[in-house]
Symmetry: C2
Subunit: 199 residues, 2 copies
């Protein structure tokens, strides 16, 4: 690079390692940092480390948490009979932001993918089956991504959960709201026809 | 947000303050941090603070530097008779990366903009005129952005520098290499016609 500062080079390199940030964005961020007051830069630096040092995973659902059990699992006002099963802890935030769901969650930490050597044992599935075995959970809504691996995981979970008396549901796959049939791909149109509902 | 972690919320908020990073990218970055080993996260956190704490501005050119005088100004192999005048310290990195320029730099830290209350006194211009007064600098290449404010700054610098015996040049404005006349804006085409060169 031939930059006049080793500290600048080091930070640009660190920023470039983050997802979605190329060398140009990294340089832009580094120069932004340079222009900020020291107090703000300290806050950013500390927040990064604080996240890594303090965050843990909820012992019940596997989602992120500041304590042993996350705020969703310990919230008495939420419906304990419904569990939404997601691939990643991040999906909980996405669904929570929509505001319409009041049940619990369970994070699988991935999906079954034999090609990548990921079977049910590699995932957070056994703890979910244990959660379901006490009879309190009546409905599991599988909200994994609509991929082949996601579908395989959904079928596996359905097979394991049905003997436990849990109703297994899957979120709807079809046309996104506001989209246009003209531009939808064939797989989505087939899914939307298969999943038609009576009005 | 209703996130299950205050540390996560804090970091997403900090990342969202960075330029070009919205709440969704910020969440993505925060989850990336969460998945990295502690040692890498520590390195990122420390690099951010180290930049802010250690970087200074070169006493000669006003560019960023780890010491009192930057590596470009103190490099004996570079041409001391030519100075490229830029708006921002970042522009030095952009020009250096291209590799074709072997002279010195001077950072104005902005351009003359009466509407924003920025006159020549608010910029790093007087130190440049002092640099030029010892007769060593023979050519100043004004490389400010091609805007009205940039043009005004260029004219001002030309007026001040000519009595000092400095040849004042401006970088060429015209069609970008690889672009198409069909899609160029009128102002650029007019500039490219005005700036025609004999072949």
């Amino acid at each position: 690079m031939g930059s006049p500062s080793a500290y600048l080079d080091a930070l640009i390199k660190e920023f470039s390692r983050l997802p979605g940030i190329g060398p140009k964005s990294a340089a832009r961020l580094a120069f932004h940092i340079l222009k900020q007051p020291l107090s703000e830069v300290e806050r950013l630096s500390k927040s990064i480390l604080a996240l890594k040092e303090n965050i843990t995973f909820c012992k019940i659902c596997g989602g992120i948490s500041d304590a042993g059990i996350c705020s969703i699992c310990s919230d008495g006002n939420r419906d304990k009979s419904t569990v939404c099963v997601v691939e990643d802890a991040r999906d909980i935030l996405t669904i929570e932001k929509c505001g319409g769901y009041r049940g619990q969650y369970h994070v699988l930490k991935g999906v079954i993918s034999p090609l990548d050597g990921i079977g049910p044992e590699e995932l957070n599935i056994s703890s979910f089956l244990r959660r379901c075995s006490d009879g309190q959970i009546r409905e599991a809504i599988i909200a994994v991504n609509p991929t082949i691996e996601g579908d395989a995981t959904t079928l596996y979970l359905a097979k394991e959960l049905k003997p436990l008396g849990v109703r297994v549901m899957r979120i709807a796959h079809g046309l996104p709201v506001g989209s246009n049939i003209e531009f939808a791909d064939a797989a989505t149109i087939v899914k939307s026809l298969e999943g038609r509902v009576e009005i």
